[in-house]
């Protein structure tokens, strides 16, 4: 690139201005990246949902239960391959702030419906035979320093008076997907069902919180969902069946309209980025009117003039972008640790880093466009007369 030295010389012409612009760019990009990461965290459930899975919840609400006998009836519907059920346990380990989701699972079918959660066979077999057994996700185990064989006390206040349950950690699961959820904790349905406090026994005995079923083919989802809801219509426990991704989206909505919040704050930040860079470039071009006119006079084409301006704004965006992403990369794990339990885990993946860089370059191009076109259109004779 022949104009290299000119582009760099122009870029570093006003050092303080450059530093301020790059700094503002970087900070705005940190904010933007943070928002994108939060958004991603809330939507991760939707993206990793199996296309061939349906979720059945009570028509009355998410926290309402259904008879555990529904499982066999659902299994009989054509197109259904496997059915399993969960309960929300809602306990606390040591301290309220140590939040992680605990599920009461049905060991017989859980693995068939969720093949992405991998547990070594020997650990799984121990768990199935051990009524007080539990399986923890690799992330949760690491977080609390648990090892297989440990005894884990979990305090439960959700069902009746506060009671501490003790579990044997029989195994640790991993996920195959890089974005997968390794934060759960599973206990046996049988254990849960037999130890329900008396006060809620008539409501909770022999129930399931929700069902998850695997289909023979994702194409059947509409038909099967309809068949299930029709089957239990007008019973005392009506159902609502939807695909896992629709369910996850609905679950994310419980936190409020996060998407909208992030989108609106994100667009404000985006325009700030554009204005910061665009303004710097507009000032630079105006300051250099005479020089640009001389370049044009000696035969630099309009296209090259536009290129010079764009190259400079892209460089600013690239410096600001790299700095911002580095800051985000350093800060997000810290923030994620600080908000554990309040928000889903925040992850800044390599894909998001590269997207961030592409985004920064795009902002650089767009913000250089207007000043660049202005410089391109400027007429040499008028520009030289103004000197």
């Amino acid at each position: 690139m022949k104009f290299r030295s000119l582009i760099f010389a122009n870029l570093f012409r006003k050092k303080i201005r450059l530093i301020l612009t790059i700094g503002s760019f970087a900070i705005a990009l940190v904010l933007f990246t943070f928002l994108a990461v939060v958004n991603r965290a809330f939507n991760r459930g939707i993206d990793i949902a199996g296309a061939d899975r349906l979720v059945i919840v009570s028509r009355v609400g998410l926290m309402q239960v259904m008879p555990v006998s529904y499982g066999d009836q659902v299994r009989a519907i054509p197109g259904v391959k496997y059915v399993t059920h969960d309960h929300w346990f809602g306990g606390v380990y040591q301290d309220e702030k140590n939040f992680f989701p605990q599920f009461v699972i049905d060991p017989e079918n859980h693995r068939k419906v969720y093949p992405e959660f991998v547990v070594p066979d020997d650990q799984w077999n121990t768990f199935v035979k051990d009524q007080q057994g539990a399986i923890a996700g690799a992330k949760t185990a690491k977080r609390f320093g648990w090892k297989v064989g440990d005894r884990i006390p979990i305090k439960n206040t959700l069902y009746g008076p506060t009671k501490t349950w003790e579990f044997n950690l029989d195994g640790i699961y991993h996920t195959e997907k890089p974005d997968g959820d390794e934060g759960q904790f599973w206990l046996q349905w049988k254990n849960f069902d037999e130890n329900i406090p008396d006060s809620i026994k008539d409501r909770m005995k022999s129930t399931a919180g929700w069902y998850i079923l695997k289909l023979d083919s994702p194409d059947d989802s509409v038909r099967v969902a309809k068949a299930i809801d029709t089957k239990f219509a007008n019973s005392s426990y009506e159902t609502k069946t939807e695909t896992e991704s629709a369910f996850a989206a609905g679950f994310a909505k419980q936190f409020g309209n996060i998407e909208f919040l992030i989108l609106s704050v994100g667009s404000v930040v985006f325009f700030t980025l554009l204005l910061v860079t665009g303004n710097t470039m507009a000032i630079s071009v105006r300051e250099r009117t005479a020089e640009l006119a001389v370049l044009k006079a000696i035969g630099v084409t309009d296209g090259s003039i536009l290129f010079l301006v764009l190259a400079e704004s892209v460089m600013i965006a690239l410096f600001g972008g790299v700095l911002g992403l580095l800051l985000a990369w350093a800060a997000i794990p810290v923030i994620s640790a600080a908000v554990t339990g309040l928000l889903p885990p925040l992850l800044l993946s390599k894909t998001m880093l590269s997207l961030g860089l592409v985004f920064a370059v795009l902002v650089g191009v767009v913000s250089g466009l207007l000043p660049g076109i202005g410089a391109m259109r400027m007429r040499v004779v008028n520009a030289l007369r103004r000197v």
Binding site: K2, F3, S5, L6, A9, N10, F12, R13, A290, E291, V294, L295, K296, A297, I298, G299, V300, T301, D302, R379, V380, V381, L384, R385, V387
Partner: protein
């Protein structure tokens, strides 16, 4: 031979025929050039004089392909530039015109060397070829030892010499100078004029120069006056003045 009557033999390097330029400001029309004719041969050195606002810069801008006339034609070395599209004209300028303006118009963040190299970046020359040309141009203007200096580290006269080096580095067909000494003291102005004379005498350059300084204008082979939108030869002006004085 320099002619202003439009009767050239068609072989001159620069031929201007019936050139008019009208500016519109508000509702008012300002006729700056009115059917002006000019013939300049290769190796000529022409000085243009005239009061401020008479259209000297306008004429130079038209000759350099920086502006388009309202009427008339300019032909340089067989190419009629008045019919060229904007992008073609840009390429033509890069190839054929060397500009030297009153304000030195160097890029302040580039060294003398880099400033002189700029026009060569528009050519296909390799880095080492460019270096040779830049060094030659800088030696012609006597600034080889200052090539790594920035414009602010140079005197006004030195800056203007760098501008001249930039104008000649790509060996253009002709040079256009608009008040090249306008901002300089007498001594520096003399040095610049000696340099331009040398370019004409030793290197066979064709130079068209605007100045309002008679001492500077006297260095040219021929001085033309811009009056009421057309060019008049200086000798005729003087005769007119004498005749007027006698009468």
């Amino acid at each position: 031979m320099i002619r202003v009557d439009g009767q050239g033999n068609g072989k001159s390097l620069i031929q201007v025929r019936g050139l008019s330029k009208t500016y519109r400001r508000g509702g008012e029309e300002i006729q700056v050039l009115q059917r002006l004719n000019l013939d300049v041969d290769k190796g000529d050195f022409v000085g243009f004089m005239g009061p401020s606002g008479s259209g000297k810069t306008t004429l130079l801008n038209l000759l350099g392909g920086l502006d388009v006339p309202t009427q008339g034609s300019i032909t340089v070395d067989g190419d009629e530039i008045t019919h060229m599209s904007g992008s073609k004209l840009t390429k033509w300028r890069a190839r054929h015109v060397g500009f030297i303006f009153q304000m030195y118009n160097l890029i302040p963040v580039l060294t003398a060397y880099q400033n002189v190299e700029l026009p060569l970046l528009l050519t296909k020359l390799s880095g080492s070829e460019r270096r040779k040309h830049v060094e030659t141009a800088l030696s012609v203007v006597g600034l080889t030892d200052r090539m790594n200096h920035y414009p602010r580290q140079l005197s006004g006269g030195q800056e203007q010499r760098v501008t001249i080096a930039r104008a000649i580095v790509s060996d253009p067909t002709f040079l256009l100078c608009d008040e090249p000494t306008g901002d300089l003291d007498r001594k520096s102005a003399d040095e610049i004029m000696a340099l331009i004379e040398e370019l004409v005498a030793k290197h066979g350059k064709t130079v068209l120069m605007v100045t309002h300084d008679p001492v500077v204008a006297a260095r040219a082979h021929t001085t033309l006056h811009l009056e009421k939108g057309v060019l008049v030869e200086a000798s005729k002006v003087e005769q007119g003045v004498v005749a007027g004085g006698v009468a």
